[in-house]
Symmetry: C2
């Protein structure tokens, strides 16, 4: 077990290790996920788990490239590929403003449009083929 | 003239005031803009000016909602509408790590996909109707 300065740092480490369970465990039970693609929020840890598991399959050559902190949370910047498209994105994490505070919200934004289109297609395929959230 | 803690804070103030010239003046001549829609970077202040002027027309009810800082730059989170679509976005600003340092890079990411689609359509219309960058 590694100690982290913040739940955001622990989230980064869990994602980098491909450990979806550890990432989800940092969130409150009533956490909210805002998808880069879908308008409506996803509510609860089980929705988040299904999304993160799917993303692990869809994002290739994933790496975090920068970190930012503010009074409301943290931003983690990343790069990856989806199929043959280069994708750039950010994870905006809210909550977790102290070491013992759970994360409450994850919002993901991506660019450019061609990569968002590829992500939308691949996520629909993977979520349709998996267990319901 | 208002003093700002950082070029990122000055950028936020210029955008909030609708002052495209003041926003562009914070950037280095060889700055780079990464569009939320287009893969290829836009180079130079005049490209940035054309984009920011178009965005001013396309983004309605624009407001910044959060700020984050890191060793490489700043992230400004915003919300707006494009037509009847709610859009959430971030400005990632690089450079400007001291009060006298110019900004070097602006990257914009948006969500959800429906809003990115509306933005793509509206930006193409506005840029086609305006002066070439």
């Amino acid at each position: 077990v590694t100690a982290h300065d913040s739940p955001a740092a622990a989230f980064r480490a869990a994602v980098e290790a491909g450990d979806v369970d550890a990432a989800v465990a940092l969130f409150a039970p009533d956490c909210v996920f805002h998808s880069p693609v879908v308008h409506a929020p996803y509510e609860g840890r089980e929705s988040l788990r299904a999304i993160l598991a799917a993303v692990t399959t869809v994002f290739e050559d994933f790496r975090y490239t920068a970190e930012y902190a503010g009074p409301d949370g943290h931003v983690l910047e990343f790069a990856c590929r989806v199929g043959d498209r280069d994708l750039q994105g950010v994870d905006v994490l809210r909550g977790g403003t102290g070491p013992d505070q759970p994360l409450t919200e994850l919002t993901v934004l991506v660019r450019p449009y061609s990569a968002a289109t590829a992500l939308r297609t691949r996520m629909a395929e993977v979520l349709a083929g998996g267990a319901p959230a």
